[in-house]
Symmetry: C2
Subunit: 340 residues, 2 copies
DNA sequence: CTGTTAGCGCATTCAG
DNA sequence: CTGAATGCGCTAACAG
């Protein structure tokens, strides 16, 4: 492997000149720079990442950190991580994956102390996350993917749950639906303060009133059988319901079945839209489900971009970015049925 | 941050003694070693990963590499990657994620040439994968997760598809089923030579004969509607079918619906077992689906362990390990119905 | 069994 | 605008 020394020798300049030609942190005449560039190409030179890190005290590596707790929102997608890797790569960074098996900051300490990474991207932030005070204390730059009310001063990117709920209601409303039921996740999840569940619930209350929708704001445990039971009960109690907004992929099949078993059909009698869902889920059903899907790529590019901006100090404000989900209209939604 | 120098000074020994006490690559007397260990703890010393790498020419970082192509088998799980990270971490390694967006070995070259990693774990290996000759040529140690007939000489770990199919047939057979249909993935996937589809198909042919099962060996496109159509057709043609083995989570809801619409019920009339599936999928349906699930954790520990063994040259053979899926009996399977 | 020392490949001072 | 020299923190010869 060619080193910077080889390049310098062949180009007839000093090592530092080559170094500056690469980094640009000091003016180099156009012609020597061009010459050096050519020699680098001839030698197929690549800077040695490790050596560069040791000298510069910056590794150009960021860590993406998954905590012990498994959440129910569909954040657990491989594509999110590959997006992160791609985003990092595009900015000249590497992405290492850390997965914490316990909820103990010492696990994190073990990793951080090796000084392998310049910054950390925290996934699945949860209430009173021990990782946040730890990173603050040690002054490790970090960014949250997801947010929590217990950490109001941090940088984050997150799904805009409120706007997503608003859009779903408004869109259904535009199709004539006036009686809409929101099937959120479980009450336990809500009561534990899990952000997405709390925010969507509040948003549904507010926006359904704003849009003059008669809304039912319900919880449902993450289980197809529960989805069935709940939906059947709702249909029995308020048969005028013409649309369901569902924030839990696991209950969809139960919801669909309950609607069909009640003698109604989708979407002519009842519409279903799944929020914070995914194409993979949507296409598993008949009919294919209309969804609002997380903008995983955009969110990740933001998260990684902001984190790296922080590292390179070209940014000084605390970035907080919310991105609503995007609508994918499929076969489970239609205009509200005519009133008899 | 304390450095090795600080430890040496405080312990009253030389730097190299500390180094050897850590690595164990040269004998150190028990008492000095104990003393050094104590001093390290007092100083809360952690070796600097980068400096160590530069000096030793080993980074103790491995890359997990996802290719451009998206495969249909459920390998796309986040848990696989976190397992890989955990396995690596347990062995003192870090895991970086590389995601190739093109099918070009030059992308890989760009990464490898930075000499950031000691070895590579290739995911989702496909026919005539360009990455394999490249890595061989450059002498980069690597390991395959999944395998392909176009690379018969490499080290790999993989799901034992044949044994999984055998077990599924045998298990159903033990419950009295004699007419079993295997719903594989699409014919196009098979004809393109995709290993899992080819191997399961062949295995079904062989083992259903061995076990005296009247088997239908069918393809089905990855779509719930196709699953419905296909299942309905099969039920019409061969109504004596009492069990379906399905290797495609995307069609399950169609299969279930077709069976129910034909007036039969699950599992009393017809059993369903999904192979190479997952709990997440299984619990999305009513009834919960009996599955054979990939031993992701075990496979990953094997893959990472073997790769690292290779790196550290405590191993010289080419490891090839197959692990069949494990049965999770749920509600979609039961004894074959009595013959009329 | 332990100490001394020369790099690993590069970034970055200090001189010119 | 460019070159020479120092050292990042550690490993691994070499020397005792």
């Amino acid at each position: 492997m060619a080193t910077i020394k080889d390049v310098a020798a062949k180009a007839g300049v000093s090592i530092s000149t080559v170094s500056y030609a690469i980094s640009g942190s000091r003016p180099i005449s156009e012609e020597t720079k061009a010459h050096i560039t050519r020699v680098m190409e001839e030698l197929d030179y690549r800077p040695h990442a490790i050596a560069r890190s040791l000298a510069s005290k910056k590794t150009r590596i960021i860590a993406i950190l998954y905590p012990a707790v498994e959440r129910t929102i569909g954040l657990s997608e491989l594509s999110l991580i590959t997006c992160a890797a791609n985003a990092a790569s595009a900015l000249g960074y590497h992405l290492v994956l850390w997965s914490m098996t316990s909820n103990d900051a010492r696990d994190l300490d073990r990793l951080v102390r090796q000084e392998l990474v310049d910054g950390v991207l925290l996934m699945d932030v949860h209430n009173n996350d021990v990782r946040i005070p730890y990173l603050n204390e040690r002054n490790i730059p970090f960014m949250l993917f997801g947010r929590d009310k217990s950490c109001p001063n941090e940088s984050f990117v997150d799904v805009d749950f409120a706007v997503t709920v608003y859009q779903a209601i408004a869109w259904l409303s535009g199709k004539g639906h006036r009686e809409i039921c929101f099937l959120n996740q479980s009450k336990e999840t809500h009561d534990s303060g899990y952000g997405p569940v709390v925010r969507t619930r509040d948003a549904f209350t507010v926006f359904s009133a704003d849009l003059r929708i008669r809304g039912r704001n319900e919880f449902c445990a993450a289980d197809a059988a529960e989805g069935y039971r709940k939906t059947a009960a709702i249909l029995a109690e308020t048969p005028e319901t013409t649309a369901f907004i569902v924030m839990n992929d696991r209950i969809l099949s139960g919801v669909i079945k309950a609607i069909e078993d009640s003698g109604k059909s989708i979407p002519s009698d009842v519409s279903i839209v799944a929020i914070v869902s995914s194409e993979a889920t949507a296409t598993m059903f008949i009919p294919k489900i209309t969804t609002y899907e997380m903008e995983g790529r955009e969110l990740m590019e933001l998260a990684v971009g902001q984190l790296i901006a922080k590292l390179e100090e070209s940014y000084f404000e605390v970035p907080r970015r919310l991105v609503p989900c995007r609508l994918f209209e499929r076969m489970s939604t239609g205009p509200a049925p005519e009133k008899e």
